[in-house]
């Protein structure tokens, strides 16, 4: 059974026509299923878990990048596939997965091209893209129980990437099924009198592929954001869960496997 999880914003009138088109196309393709719509009275986790308990083999997020990231995190604990129908044109996750906007996404779903991907994990939360900490103070990262990385500049950006920084300013992709997460430490440099510029992908950047990392930040806690949907604070542990999820992808996907 297909389970379609509609985000709260999809109930806005502007999406009505597109949703009708999508639902019609799903029926034509024979992949329609149970629909649950998020509302202020309903909890996403309960809705999705209830759908899985009632026999859903595929959970489809209908909404935007935040909807998809939320579904990924909830579904990670179960052996079901995840699909995505983007209701916004500029969805970054849709671009990476090779899924077109609106009703065209139904065709990709029906083709059922499935790719196994790793997921990053912080506490009980799973993420597909990146764990991001903006300008944390002095950080210490203990990697795979073997060595410690400490930052030597006060203003440093830390990203822990699974399949990449998808929702950041510049999309950047890493291998999604290599059994490792990549710690990327970038300094932030001054630009002009007051502005700061984030330095990415240059000779000052550090990259460490690891399986497990413990992050601490001295007396000052640092906040980390997982794909922009949930925040965590240091100290914390992050690891990779290899082949944790089956994603339905399109032929034009940018997702990297190696």
């Amino acid at each position: 059974m297909y389970f379609y999880f509609y985000d709260k914003f999809t109930q806005d009138k502007q999406y009505e026509v597109e949703l009708t088109r999508i639902e019609t196309r799903l029926i034509e393709l024979g992949i329609n299923g149970r629909v649950e719509k998020l509302s202020i009275f309903k909890n996403a986790k309960e809705l999705i878990e209830d759908g899985i308990k009632k026999g859903a083999h595929t959970v489809v997020a209908v909404g935007d990048d935040s909807t998809f990231a939320t579904v990924v995190s909830i579904v990670a604990a179960y052996d079901v596939s995840v699909g995505f129908i983007p209701l916004i044109q500029e969805s970054r996750f849709a671009e990476v997965l090779g899924i077109p906007f609106g009703q065209e996404a139904a065709n990709v779903l029906s083709q059922r091209l499935v790719q196994d991907v790793d997921l990053g994990r912080i506490q009980d939360h799973h993420f597909l893209g990146t764990l991001y900490a903006s300008e944390p103070s002095q950080l210490e990262l203990k990697c795979d129980g073997q060595y410690t990385i400490s930052t030597t500049e006060d203003t440093t950006e830390l990203r822990i990437m699974n399949c990449g920084d998808i929702i950041g300013e510049e999309m950047r992709l890493m291998p999604a099924a290599d059994g490792r997460i990549d710690i990327v430490v970038s300094p932030v440099v001054e630009e002009g009198m007051l502005r700061k510029k984030k330095v990415r992908q240059n000779e000052k950047e550090s990259i460490f592929p690891v399986k497990h990392v413990e992050i601490s930040s001295g007396s000052e806690s640092v906040t980390l954001s997982a794909d922009g949907v949930e925040n965590f604070t240091t100290p914390c542990e992050v690891d990779v869960v290899p082949s944790a999820m089956k994603l339905i992808v399109g032929r034009d996907r940018k997702l990297r496997t190696n």
Binding site: E90, Q146, I149, R180, Q201, E203, R256
Partner: protein, 140 residues
């Protein structure tokens, strides 16, 4: 190292080689650093470094560690023993304070070596990644 994808992308997409560990100038690494990737160092490392692939040490880097790799290209400072199963290349800015053991060595004018240097047959033992101690050890 970074390649921009071709084609009419909606947004700029960058990809990074998976088989590369980069230690930049703004981080310090301490401990037993083992890897199956190529390693590029431009920062500060203290402890031991082992890789079954290649190691590049940049001009401003500072290493206080015994180092084992398949091949090494060194332009910075290393305080510790070097062991390569293939080739060690020391550029003019390289400063090595320790023993060097390798199959083949290439030394540019101006490079500094303070230690014993063993090359050729017998020095080409493969890098054993599972061992705790460096293959070379202190011999002086």
């Amino acid at each position: 190292m970074f390649a921009k994808e071709e084609g009419g992308d909606k947004s700029d997409v960058h990809t990074t080689s998976s088989a590369q560990t980069v230690i930049g100038p703004t981080v310090k690494v301490e401990g037993s650093f083992q890897s199956d990737d190529n390693i590029a160092i431009d920062g500060h490392v203290v402890g031991t470094i082992k890789t079954s692939k290649d190691l590049t040490v940049g001009t401003d880097s500072k290493i206080e560690a015994d180092v084992s790799a398949a091949n090494m290209h060194i332009s910075g400072e290393v305080k510790g023993n070097l062991h390569a199963s293939g080739t060690i290349t020391l550029t003019s800015s390289a400063r090595v304070y320790g023993d060097v053991e390798t199959s083949i060595i290439s030394v540019e004018t101006g490079a500094v070596i303070q230690g014993r240097c063993t090359t050729g047959a017998g020095a080409d033992t493969p890098i054993e990644m599972d061992e705790e101690e460096s293959e070379t050890g202190k011999k002086k």
